[in-house]
Symmetry: D2
Subunit: 370 residues, 4 copies
């Protein structure tokens, strides 16, 4: 009921504060017999890790993950997996100056009002550090999905006003990891990096957009009426720190289209049914239709900036806040693996839930078309 769990079939519960002893995640619902590729899990965390490049926060954390339960001889056993990451570089003193005051557009005020007793160090629980636990869980989800042929790739499509005009499959998503900003349109990536550096130099921050594509998703994932696949994706994305918007398929651009343009015409390819266009974004009536799923997430500029800002303290008295601490000038490069992780968590959840629907008929229906 409190909100630290996600997923109904593959259920994760994250814990930990930015400057507490550790952060981590418990996963209940991972099928037994899955090979746990620790190198892969760690490599996913490394993609989210602070200090990985010059355009991200310089906090030093190796984010080394340990699996404390649920594994036996390298495979999952069907019992809860517990993944733990110790906090190393928790310079709590960086934050003593904000113990009694509220940083603008942070969660300081709302946590103070809601809970009364607040760990103010680095934002405590409201810090994006919590997302490391999501990436760890998402990595395990990815290992499972990969066995089923489902791949998820996110990338930065916009930083401030700089954006790529290309989209997948025109973009080669293998290029995403080639630059620190994770935009696969390499000339645009360079402009983005320069822009982030300039913003950082000014002590300021800037927003951006992360786009994502899911390939290989079978027909049938998603549960109407409320747990539509895209509704769960929307919630997953909006639950990421600093995310302000979500759209899938034609999204906000679809608003100006007519039905006659927007409708995706069905065609038969082999014994599969496909659509000629894909404004539906791979989901119809809340259920995947076998086409690529694609969506976009808007991220606001990070709230921590260097220049002094007016604010109030816990008693409401006027005060000033100056940005110390270490922080990201732009959140989107590190948001890429988080978006992928959350998408993976939604997909594995729906994959498992769909197993409870009578599936034997599906093969028959497909064969009839063969």
């Amino acid at each position: 009921m409190r909100g630290n769990s996600f997923g109904k079939a593959f259920t994760i519960t994250t814990f930990g504060e930015s400057h507490g002893k550790a952060i981590g995640v418990t996963i209940d619902g991972c099928p037994a017999g899955l090979t746990l590729d620790l190198n892969f899990i760690q490599s996913e965390l490394d993609r989210r890790r602070p200090g990985q490049s010059k355009i991200v926060t310089q906090r030093k954390e190796s984010d080394t993950v340990q699996i404390l339960s649920g594994d036996f001889e390298g495979k999952t056993t069907g019992t809860p997996l517990m993944l733990l990451i110790w906090n190393a570089d928790a310079r709590s003193k960086d934050y003593s100056h904000i113990a009694d005051r509220f940083r603008p557009s942070h969660a300081d005020f709302t946590y103070h009002e809601k809970y009364g007793n607040r760990d103010y160090r680095g934002g405590g629980r409201s810090s994006a550090r919590e997302t490391a636990a999501r990436v760890a869980a998402g990595a395990i989800a990815k290992l499972f999905l990969r066995e089923k042929g489902i791949e998820i790739n996110a990338y930065v499509s916009q930083v401030g006003a700089i954006k790529t005009e290309k989209s997948y499959p025109e973009l080669d998503l293998a290029d995403t990891e080639k630059t620190a900003v994770r935009c696969p349109d390499l000339p645009v990536a360079e402009q983005m990096i320069d822009h982030i550096k300039a913003v950082k130099k000014a002590g300021d921050t800037i927003g951006g957009v992360v786009a994502a594509v899911v390939t290989g998703c079978p027909v049938g994932l998603g549960e109407p009426a409320f747990d539509k696949l895209h509704a769960d994706l929307a919630k997953a994305m909006l639950s990421i720190n600093a995310c302000k918007g979500f759209e899938y398929g034609s999204g906000f651009d679809g608003v100006t289209m007519r039905g006659s343009e927007h409708n995706d015409i069905f065609v038969k390819e082999g014994n599969e049914i496909k659509t000629k266009t894909n404004f539906s974004g791979g989901i119809q009536g809340g259920i995947s239709n076998g086409m690529d799923i694609y969506f976009r997430c808007a991220f606001k500029p990070v709230a921590t900036i260097i220049p002094a800002q007016d604010s109030v303290d816990v008693k409401g008295e006027k005060t000033e806040v100056v940005g110390k601490g270490r922080h990201d000038p732009c959140v989107v490069p590190r948001a890429v693996p988080i978006v992928e992780a959350m998408a993976a968590l939604v997909l594995i959840d729906h994959y498992l839930r769909d197993l409870m629907v009578r599936r034997e008929d599906r093969g028959e229906r497909r064969e009839e078309r063969g």
Copy 2:
């Protein structure tokens, strides 16, 4: 697990198909002692009702709602409320032509593949008719929220390329119901209506945007990390038929802003803490901060159009689909009460969940600032 329930504290479960016997909703978690204003509940359904104007579907349904349980002497008892709406004008024959074929961009194909046994009449369960049940439940949520001073107002801000440049509070939301299209910018509303009529005449459909404002929301609603207030709003909105995108506060526009512009500075007003600007959209760290909550939802053009379209049948053979049935040329006028209902369901859910947090301290904190 199947997805027909929404809410953890105020939990609704909807049922019913477009051309089945009835649709309705069971509500578990409504507090006892709430006065049930039946006229208000019915009036909300009337706002969503088909046939209410010339720019919506002409299906004839009075959508008269009955309360079958959970009430005693005009008030709720704390036991489940069951609200039932009989289907009246279910011209199933209108749909026999699509029994064995898939309408483009409808849920026909995905339901057929997922479930095997599909009620094709009017889209069955995937029909937007299901949202009448949401509006009924949302009306009860509104009655509760109103007692707490929380009001929700949605309106049409865009139809195709025609949009209002104004926003609340510049717009007088009392004007929303003055036109059939539910845009409170009355000159723009006229253009929208003309546009919808033209689109309808062409047998085509068009998309649009619904904007919403929540006023009077207290500080403290929302549950991090996953059940952030805006994450639940996003899921709620994306679960509405034809919704393709959601943004709150600065939304996608916030992407191009700098932190120094986007940050909302705290100020004291009386013994309340407010913000000078509200790019946060009334929510910080997933928790309401007492400012207005506002968000926008993108709706695609309705998939049912009159001209013949290519498609395939259940065996994958090429065929053609012609639009019969009755349908909306543009979904947004009728989506307004649905958006409000879903927002009300999210807010009451979080209002009740927040009651489990130690609240006695809050008053004390507020008094300290007095």
Copy 3:
């Protein structure tokens, strides 16, 4: 959160009061393609129906059930099933004398205190009439389980101090329905009936025990650590009105046994692994082991009796309560189909949940032993 739903995969939500307009149940999670045998569903309700014999309450209710959604051409579609039963013989005037006072050992006082606004007529929501909805949902679960070879049979094993010394398979469970008391030990059944008649004549009531046996349950149902199969059965049974105790396998008698006596030795039969004894009651570590599951439920005497009893009114003033209304002298004959229904709901829930575990391996393991 309020407690009117049961089951995680096959989720039912019941609604309705004893003397309200209707009672019923919504089922979310029933697999598609299940043939709905309406005669069977009604026959299950008839087994629970009031007025069915001289030893049960004489309230007149046909308990005719209607399916309002989720079915198409006689089969389930995977969407929510809604089953409705109208209340017919609701003689509310029978209850006006208790509007302001609390009947001993009823829920009048606790509902009054918890909710404030209470439908006192016939106990309102706390009436066992609510269990008709469970029987309707359980009948659908039974139809599904029957396809899988799983059968559930409950019977009365004790009324007051009169009990059968026999148990299944010594008892022929086909004899259960031969008498009004539903004890398959026919000579004992006659004594039970006479005893109930004598108790009724005295205006009094008496307790009893319902025993149940599940045959054909496959290995693997149940989810440790908390959702052990027997833990969910215990909750299901204790949630039935008047149930005071639950035991499975050796139960309370197992307390005095030694491990060397109580352990069930494994043996191979064909390619199945069985146990020589079955003190485990078909469940080990919370998971079914393929043997018969058996358990027993204690029911207290019904609280409504004819003689005047001291009590207090809503203001705490001393008063008297006299039994009017119609009521059962002994609850166990009508509890039999309710116990079966609740067991069926637990089993289908765990059957569906188990589908999310990697099952392909199981066949292989079994074949290895072949």
Copy 4:
């Protein structure tokens, strides 16, 4: 969905295997501002700890608990609490002999069949070692409940055929901790200890009963229809390893009583309403009525015994199992704190859930009676 979580408002998720790296629990839903008395939490674990006396298993574990998140300056913050206990004395070699065979009446066979990949060491996840995590979480629940005046006391009432004929309040529950067997009837406790020693000497095991009393519970906890307070207690208790039965109030003995004997007559005491007798066990209609709540739990003899037993291996071939490992000759002395912990988890969950019901009226109702 997998079953490793318990509670809807105060939700715990346990993880860990008997011989894995660690065990622990995440708690989501603990209210903010609760003082964490670490000495108390550890003392509860010490009551469950192996090696605490000569009549329990001699495995050496200090069971030292660490809190890794959710606390700040000694108090809870409303964010998830993570409690970790490292496994120390994990002599896995003790178990290599059972890697490929099934111990009678253990969970070896069912886990093997359900999951395929099984951590056989010490029973893995099915080991009662998991209950240490429950005791840790339960200790925090007790700290909260104590602030509200709610106390839970369990004790051993029977070992094999040796039982106390006394019950609370005749028994002084302060005597429970005076003996290793935790029976407050001290002369009977001595007999129990002698009996357990004799059974142990024979390499055998014996069952027992744990009784529990909850005092100070306010009126109003419990959520009909399915989440009745006693139904949730039943599930909680049956989820404990080796528990085979549960009864509350009059329990199985109530079966032979008449309504006229069994009904609890209401009386006014001050401005409270009480009952003269308490066969209801403090719960009516699933809701606490303010009287003491009492219940009893049956535990079977531990399955691990020293003498050789026939069994089968994973291929179904006949084999033999000899008891090595360390184990309890009788589970009930160590089950006492586990029963208390599970009861505390049920009560805090319902305490928090009840906060969502309109409570302001209650005080008024009580005052009216003043």
